[in-house]
């Protein structure tokens, strides 16, 4: 068999492998749409669950997920951006910086259930917040921190070094340079990375298992110290704990979560393209 034939076969195998990976994605999307769309009605999205969640709507789960995502944003975004500013604009090349970078890599790799345990141990028990939106948001925020820091760092380093040198040469201080030259030009990248990080947080189940998620609440959460229902946990419960739930409701709930996540991802993508076009430099 000559080399050219070998190459043709090899390339065909590579294509096959790629198809094997991509096809299920298409399959999943189509399956969700076909089985889940019929469930989507105004009552489903805005109604409360009835009959032990076998009928009615999933509004409290949607609201819970929105609250948790908001809480995650509030706690993780400011500190994530500031930490990235430290690493990219202030930190020297020394052991401390390396240590911080390693810590971020580790935080990114910690299993989500371990975050759940941590949240249980620190926020729910030790600090006494109880299972609450507060505890859940804080837990999700720490989990999302590495994503935000990494995305922000990339956005900051994409700002050309020259801009900083010009600013310093005019006598501006380091913080002035960051605040007036670097940050404004990094906002698009920061925004994109942040939205992607939040969309991941919205879909997480394990960290909220013991820190906030409730099986069934008769009313919407009233304060950050309340427990809440959440879409990922709701999916888990519907598909494993509650017998005789109609397939339509299961798929509908899954579809709603997937749509939320996809809309956030799409927003991030569109922002990225929009700002890339408007870039003057």
């Amino acid at each position: 068999m000559d080399v050219k034939t070998k190459e043709k076969i090899a390339f065909a195998m590579l294509l096959l492998a790629t198809i094997i990976i991509i096809t299920p994605v298409a399959f999943i999307i189509i399956l969700l749409l076909v089985r889940g769309l019929p469930a989507l009605s105004l009552d489903f999205i805005f109604g409360m669950p009835r009959e032990g969640m076998r009928a009615g709507g999933i509004f409290p789960a949607i609201v819970g997920t929105l609250y948790l995502t908001l809480g995650t944003a509030v706690f993780s975004i400011p500190f994530g951006i500031l930490a990235a500013i430290y690493l990219n604009e202030y930190a020297q090349r020394n052991w401390l910086t390396r240590g911080i970078e390693l810590a971020i890599i580790n935080l990114a790799g910690v299993p989500s259930i371990v975050y759940g345990l941590f949240g249980l141990g620190l926020f729910v028990t030790f600090l006494g917040f109880g299972a609450s939106i507060l505890a859940g948001s804080l837990t999700l925020a720490i989990m999302t921190l590495p994503v935000i820091i990494t995305a922000t760092r990339e956005a900051l380093s994409a700002v050309p070094w020259n801009f900083r040198e010009v600013s310093f040469s005019l006598g501006a201080s380091r913080w002035q340079t960051v605040r007036h030259v670097v940050l404004p030009n990094a906002i698009p990248g920061i925004l994109t990375g942040t939205i992607l990080g939040l969309s991941r947080a919205a879909g997480e189940t394990a960290p909220i298992l013991f820190t906030v998620a409730a099986f069934y609440l008769p009313r919407l959460p009233q304060s950050i110290y309340d427990q809440a229902m959440a879409l990922p946990y709701h999916i888990y419960v519907l598909s494993t704990q509650v017998p005789n739930v109609s397939v339509k409701i299961q798929y509908g709930t899954v579809l709603v979560l997937v749509l939320m996540v996809f809309i956030l991802n799409l927003a991030a993508s569109l922002l990225r393209t929009h700002f890339r076009k408007r870039k003057t430099w």
Binding site: R93, N162, F163, E165, S167, F168, S169, L170, G171, N185
Partner: protein, 248 residues
């Protein structure tokens, strides 16, 4: 009158010497041309004078440089950079409007009054010989200007913080002859109020523009003197070889 007195100045980047034992004085209101082949330390020289070289990781400086008698290493570096401005080799506008580019420096130093800012912006753009070309479009983005215009904008930007010394790091490389001429004319006008140091790879430009010329080679100052003398009867053979083009 000596504006800057440099004594035994040495600069290393990551243990590699960039400037070796530099000793010279720079007179007020003169244009000092600095010539020499690449890597002779000309840019390091400029960036040491306003301590911009401290931004480079691994840089080390010893020796002394006095600005009006005060050590530049003891003056707060942000104030030093206000007094000693620099124009870089490539036109580097900030991604802002023309007005905001020029107003950037004064704003960072605390000036907020819009009327005063407008005055300073106009004064600086006039001194950089570009006011007439941009006065009707101060709000447009600076990147829309041509290369030569951007560079004059950068000069205006440097002037806006009201420095005493202006450093030029090969400011006309990559510019067309007309823009180059405009910038050289502006420099002559600025002599009245500013001390200027012009680093240039173009030996003829130094001959045209500068009062005195200094020749650098591999981090050392080889010779410094009146421009006429350097270009006609240089004292060092290496200077002669360089200005006549035997090496470059």
């Amino acid at each position: 009158m000596v504006k800057i007195q440099i004594t035994n100045l040495n600069v290393w980047y990551e243990k590699q010497p960039a400037l070796k034992n530099l000793n010279l004085g720079i007179y007020s209101n003169e244009i000092l041309g600095v010539i020499g082949p690449s890597n002779s330390g000309k840019t390091s020289f400029l960036k040491t004078l306003n301590r911009l070289n401290e931004l480079i990781i691994g840089s080390r400086t010893t020796g002394e440089a006095l600005l009006d008698g005060e050590s530049i290493f003891r003056i707060d570096k942000h104030l030093l950079r206000k007094r000693v401005g620099i124009v870089f080799a490539l036109p580097l506008p900030l991604p802002l409007s023309i007005f905001d580019n020029v107003a950037y420096g004064p704003r960072m130093h605390g000036l907020k009054n819009l009327k005063k800012l407008k005055e300073i912006v106009e004064k600086s753009l006039r001194a950089a010989a570009i006011w007439d070309e941009v006065k009707d479009r101060l709000k447009t983005n600076a990147f829309k200007l041509s290369g030569g215009q951007q560079q004059r904008l950068c000069i205006a930007r440097t002037l806006a913080v009201e420095p005493e010394v202006i450093l030029y790091d090969e400011p006309c490389s990559g510019l067309d002859p007309i823009s180059t001429l405009k910038i050289e004319e502006a420099m002559q006008e600025l002599k009245k109020n500013y001390t200027q140091i012009l680093v240039t790879n173009n030996v003829k430009q130094a001959a045209r523009v500068s009062d005195r010329t200094a020749f650098f080679l591999m981090g050392c100052l080889i010779e410094i003197g009146d421009t006429k003398q350097i270009f006609t009867v240089p004292q060092d053979k290496r200077t002669d070889d360089y200005v006549t083009g035997r090496f470059g």
